[in-house]
Amino acid sequence: MLSERDLRPKDMGRSDEQLIKLYNLMPLKAPYDKPGMESPLTDPKPAWKEKYCTSLDGYIGIDTLTRPKSKEEEDEFVRKFLSGLEKIFSDANNGVLQPLLLSFEYCAKCNTCSDACHIYSATDNNELYRPIFRSEVLRKIVKKYFTTSGKLLGGLVGADIDVNWETIARLGELSYRCNLCRRCAQTCPLGLDNAILSKEIRKIFSQEMGIAPTPLHTKGTMLQIKTGSSTGLSKPAFLDTLEFLEEDTEEKFGIKLKFPVDKKGADILLLHNAGEFMAWPENPVAFAILFDAAGLNWTLSSEIMGYDSVNYGLWYDDIQAKKIALMQMKVAKDMGAKRLVVAECGHAHKASMIAGDRMTSDRIPVESCLPLLWDMVKSKRLKLDPSRNNFPVTLHDPCNVVRQMGIVEPQRDVLNAICPQFREMTPHGVDNYCCGGGSGFAIMNSANFPEFRTQVASRVKFNQILGAFKGKMEDTSIPKYICAPCSNCKGAMRGLLEHYDATEKFNLQYGGLVELMVNALVSMKKPFLEFLE
């Protein structure tokens, strides 16, 4: 095993059982700075080593990437990768060709991007996670196989890498050690974007080789295309869930809630991440309470593809992303809604408003829920009592919504209006760090990947949270609320708080924005937030 300090991109083809092992992690802030507050990182099980690619850093992100059983299988694996690699520079990839070529060709290797990366920082600047490391491996392979200079001059122009199963499999795994948060691109003096290259590697694996993490593909986009939701929630089950939530809301809060479903010609078709109905049902309930209180003409859809906003294709497969985005748009159009409003789900925002924006000309307007929520507060259509939220609150900025869409202020305006103890994380807004759950990490739970997500990818975020609540953490009588208006970010928060036992030990809570708004509603007879009861 190499020392991380000696690791170079061309080492990806080495025959080591494991290229590096993580030892040093960024120290956590108080109260997690004491010995014994964190479990040590574990080694992969021997059986995993035989079956999967644990030879990168010991973690398994791609659970469908299994070791070849013969030399022929290995050769075919390499051949398919090279075939896909060639295709990303062809007209099959027109939708990203210009940004890809720019980022591929012009890197000056100044390393300015490194310090912007939360994974690189969390691992005490481990070379393997330097943003340009994987980009450079990709460049070396391209140079070796597809450029005249590489074929003639080899190492002189950087084409000095052994390409075998290990190289390619490690590169595939390494593409899942990047959250695609694009924070590094903000700091590049040339405006280059390493996340594009990470995603292109994922695309080669999925679109050409048929290899992608099960939660993203088989149980993600494929399940969604088949059943309408990546949760597997069918139309009858969805309608049952709504009915249950209506009864539950009446029982708990005495509110007679009726979710409008399939209302033709509604002003708003509200699209939730269906995971909310399963994991955080209080979120769609809070939306319904607020939209009714504000007198909005809105509806949910029970049509297949109409009740789940997710689009995991965004993270690994352009073809899947387009299929889903177009199907969702068709449902919205068929319903005759005047606009589609995306609820608290970051990647769904980006998929439908940014990526989806240039997939078809036949669209209805798509809007984020955040300006709508701020408008309800600003216009005083809701009677709110901020004193009901008189506990420390901080805001997590989902990368997709903030850095990649520029929706920065509305959610802050709401919190400033209804949370007297709102405080920002450092840094925040467009400079904020990823939660560590981005680009699929939040739902990738196979083998030991959750350990990487929680203790490595979410580490900087956890420190940001601890910093925001400095001086309040150890007082367990005070709830401290992390407002994360995004389903995937909430998934990462859930993993973090569970792993560090932070709710039990320090009364650290998390949830969305609408829950805080409903909690502040004057009309509520009891707290909407369970931890206040």
Partner: protein, 296 residues
Amino acid sequence: MILSIIAYISIGLLVGISVYKAYQFARMPFHGRMDLYPVPKEKGFEHGGSYYEELDWWKKPHEVSHMREIVEMLKEILFIKTLFENQRPFWWISYALHLGIYFLMAWTILLVAGGVFELNGISVAVSSSNILALLLFYLTELTGYFGLALATMGSGLLFLRRAFDNTLKKYTTPQEYFNLLLIFVALITGIFTWGNDLSFGYAREVTANLVAFKPFAASGLLTLHIILVGIMFIYIPTSKMSHYVGKYFTFHKVLWDNNPNLKGSGVEQQIKNAASFRPTTSWSAPHIKAPAAPEK
């Protein structure tokens, strides 16, 4: 005469290949949105926001401040702002090189102007009675000294930093050392060629001869310098040192392009055009050709 031809051809190729590269990038297929905030042209959202912060955003005009975009662009071009903010130690040497190049570009133009003056019988010297010629003289001195010093120091230090920094050297290929070395050597030969006459009278005389295609006696050092500069001019646009071309596209056509797809917009038309394109290559994974119809 041959040196004049080399000078003209190399400058022509530097400009020509750069323009051709820009043309190639400009005619690349319409791509998906990859905006990254802050986007400086967003008027009224200087905190890093966008029109998506507005309710009913599609009903309101998308207000764009080209002035802010130009100012940001100039900060990048003139000061390499992003590097200054994010990696100050590296900025010092990188900026020395880039600022040196800007000075040398100005110096070249001033030498040409001075050469034309001389060809027309107007002396460009400290004793000149012509105000314009005097101004030319001093500006040429200033840009020449600073340009040669900064660019040589910058390229040399960048080379050394890459060679001795444990991280940078892992990522630097021999070709990339060559790039810096080529610039450095071309500049060093320049310093030795022009350094004997700190008034740059000799440089102006040679430039005048090059401009006028007049034969002149060239020393071995001058010949080497012109050939090296010529090679550098031709090589730069073919290498990744042509990032001056790419940088326009990365910012303006990728990170700062957030033009929405609205009815009747240019973006809508481009999407329609792109939709009619049939790629010649296709992906091979089994699910790509799978039917997209959901189960009812």
